[in-house]
Amino acid sequence: MYDAPASEQKVNQKSTKIAANKVQVFYGDTHAIKDVDVQIEDKTVTAFIGPSGCGKSTFLRCLNRMNDTIDVCRVKGEILLDGEDIYDPKVDPVQLRAKVGMVFQKPNPFPKSIYDNIAYGPRIHGLAKNKADLDEIVEKSLRRGAIWNEVKDRLHAPGTGLSGGQQQRLCIARAVATEPEVLLMDEPCSALDPIATGQVEELIDELRENYSVVIVTHSMQQAARVSQKTAFFHLGNLVEYGETGQIFTNPVDPRTESYITGRIG
């Protein structure tokens, strides 16, 4: 792992939210993730970049145990969330996922109204005492998702009727509504046009104030725009991890440099 003396201090100022030690992931016989160590900081946007199939999405899905839903997937090593191992048998993956929210590549609003989409998580976890409480949570989440003004007059219209960019912001608002501590985003803009992408990126920047955000992206420009820390994955290895500016202007590993300049990938 790369340690830049200048950025070291900055890193230490913020607390580590997620620490992964020697994480290995196997899909059946395929060794998808090899010996990944990474410290993800609180209130920071961390970007995972790398060519397709390098394991960045797989690793992201390890952080909230979404890989549990895949039968052939096995995870070794330890991942600590606030110092607790999330793969400990005592940990309930359902509780964990409430704490570590996730936004997916394709917007996937439920076939319900906008209101019910947002209220889904709070209802499941019993976050609202009464209807007024729930209304407040929905409004707050939609505001945080930067979509309140567009949908406030049609909260009971189906969420699937929104445009792609609106749907993705709705999904972010939905993830935010359960008050997670970490927000994982798996290529959240890959299905969106540039304008919607801009809106979502702006939103990610705002979310940084309250959450630790981890975003997987294929666009290096996007990583450079939204993230403070960047991790470069290649063939299942974490090649380089550090300050985003450092990675993009002065990468240490020759593979990182080749990828960023477009020679591999």
């Binding site: 039968d71 359902v94 997916f104 889904y120």
Partner: protein, 490 residues
């Protein structure tokens, strides 16, 4: 010449046409198929189709029309004083046909020359004996007018067959010539063949639709006939069903309708929860190995003939229920008199419907995108919360469709009812009593000895029509539900 030989000749002509058409096309292109508009085979097909389609079309029409025309003109030859009503005339006509066939056979066997067959008279010959000697048995002595009618029937048939052979073969030859002459390197044979194929497809589709229309019309006419004989208010609102073939029967549909409804309700109450839960298990929880094994096994249930289910109801379920609910049963109650009851038929029909509900629902649940499940699981929902709140609502339109399909099957089911529910038409709330359904009564009304013009037999058509309308309404309702939820969810 018989129709069979005409068919053979036309087919042979078509085969020859294929070869010649292809050759002529190749010749016009100087032996190089690249100069042709279409592939060489299309020119062959074009000639074949030009031979086959008009000739066979005419042949089929002729085969349908000739007997009708001849029948009609022979009927006028029977003197009116020899019969009293249409039924008697039909009997005489079948005599005529039998005698005509007998004469044909006698000529074939050499017992009569064809001239003799045309000129013999009842006054001079005992036709019954002559025909009996070649193996044609007649019920009574042949009347003079029957014999003359039969003779002209034969004569007309012979002329008709001759004209038929000439016309069909001429048409085949004309088609051959026309298509053959048109065959040329620039002729767009492929487009022509495509168009003929298209019209064949349209023809096939219209036959299916016209048949449906025909079935409905026959139901409608007979139903109208029935309502002329029996007041519709008593049919729809009558509370008793007691047909007596001597006349004066009560033909109220309500007891039958209630039986149908009650049995279907019990069947759905069994099939929907079990089928739906099985579908949820198979699509959401079962490992691929279990699924690959269990799904086909469940679908085997759908392949069991309903008569076997009927036997199961009669021999196993009925007695088992009596052992529990019947006299001296395990519960000590006396709700059930015999093995045949609404409950017996309903339970067995429910078992029959399980694969319908589960298999269709399973496909529909599987079609819900994985992204929906991921989204819900990613918010910290458990698997069952995800299924209950996201997957099932998304799959609901399809599931409703599956259930209504099962309901249509339940309403139309006959065999299980006949064997499992008994034959008593009664209005009762006790599910352990014997009742019967609309379909079972249609069978018993039509398989009896009743005259087809009596209300007791015609009521079957009115019952069928009512059933048809109900099933149609159910299907329309299903479509409406599906569309309503689609609008909301997509």
């Amino acid at each position: 010449m018989s129709a069979f030989w005409i068919l053979i000749i036309v087919l042979a002509l078509a085969a020859v046409g294929y070869v010649l058409g292809r050759q002529r096309a190749m010749a016009s292109a100087g032996g190089d198929s690249r100069h042709l508009h279409s592939l060489p085979a299309y020119y062959g097909y074009n000639v074949s189709l030009s031979v086959l389609v008009p000739a066979l079309g005419l042949l089929v029409l002729w085969l349908i029309a000739q007997p009708i025309v001849i029948e009609r003109s022979v009927k006028t030859m029977i003197p009116e004083e020899t019969y009293t009503d249409a039924g008697a005339l039909n009997l005489i006509m079948s005599d005529v046909r039998r005698v005509a066939n007998g004469l044909d056979l006698a000529v074939e066997r050499g017992a009569l020359t064809s001239e003799q067959a045309g000129s013999i008279r009842t006054e001079f010959t005992n036709i019954r004996e002559r025909l009996g000697s070649v193996g044609v048995a007649l019920g009574s002595d042949v009347q003079r007018e029957v014999l003359t009618a039969a003779q002209s029937y034969r004569a007309m048939n012979a002329t008709g067959n001759l004209i038929r052979a000439v016309l069909v073969l001429a048409l085949a030859a004309a088609g051959f010539g026309y298509a053959y002459m048109r065959t040329d390197r620039d002729f767009r044979a492929r487009n022509v063949v495509e168009r003929v194929l298209l019209s064949m497809l349209v023809f096939a589709a219209s036959i299916a639709i016209l048949t449906t229309v025909g079935i409905v019309l026959s139901l409608v006419f007979n139903t109208v006939e029935f309502f002329k004989l029996y007041p519709w208010t008593e049919f729809f609102f009558g509370l008793t069903w007691s047909p007596s073939f001597g006349g004066g029967s009560d033909l109220g549909i309500l007891p039958l309708f209630w039986g149908t409804f009650y049995i279907s309700l019990i069947a759905l109450a069994v099939a929907v929860p079990i089928g739906l839960f099985a579908a949820v298990y198979l699509s959401e929880y079962a490992s691929p190995a279990v699924r690959a094994f269990a799904k086909p096994l469940l679908e085997v249930l759908a392949g069991i003939p309903t008569i076997v289910y009927g036997l199961f109801a009669l021999l196993t379920v009925g007695p088992a229920l009596v052992a529990i609910f019947g006299r001296d049963g395990a519960l000590g109650v006396q709700w059930m008199g015999g093995g045949t009851a609404v409950m017996t038929a309903g339970l067995v029909m429910g078992i029959m419907l399980i694969p319908f509900v589960s298999s269709l629902s399973d496909d529909i649940i599987n079609a819900v995108p994985q992204a929906m499940r991921d989204g819900s699981l990613g918010l910290g929902a458990t698997k069952s919360e995800t299924i209950k709140q996201v997957v099932l609502p998304a799959a609901l339109p399809g599931i409703v469709g599956a259930i209504l399909l099962a309901a249509s099957r339940a309403i139309g089911e006959t065999m299980i009812v006949v064997l499992g529910a008994g034959a008593a038409a009664r209005l009762s709330l006790n599910p352990f009593e014997a009742m019967t359904t609309v379909t079972a009564k249609i069978v018993s009304q039509l398989t009896g000895d009743a005259d087809f013009a009596s209300p007791e037999a015609l009521v079957a058509f009115a019952l069928g029509m009512t059933l048809f309308v109900i099933t149609l309404g159910l299907n329309i309702f299903a479509l409406w539900i599906v569309r309503k939820y689609r609008e909301q969810y997509e």
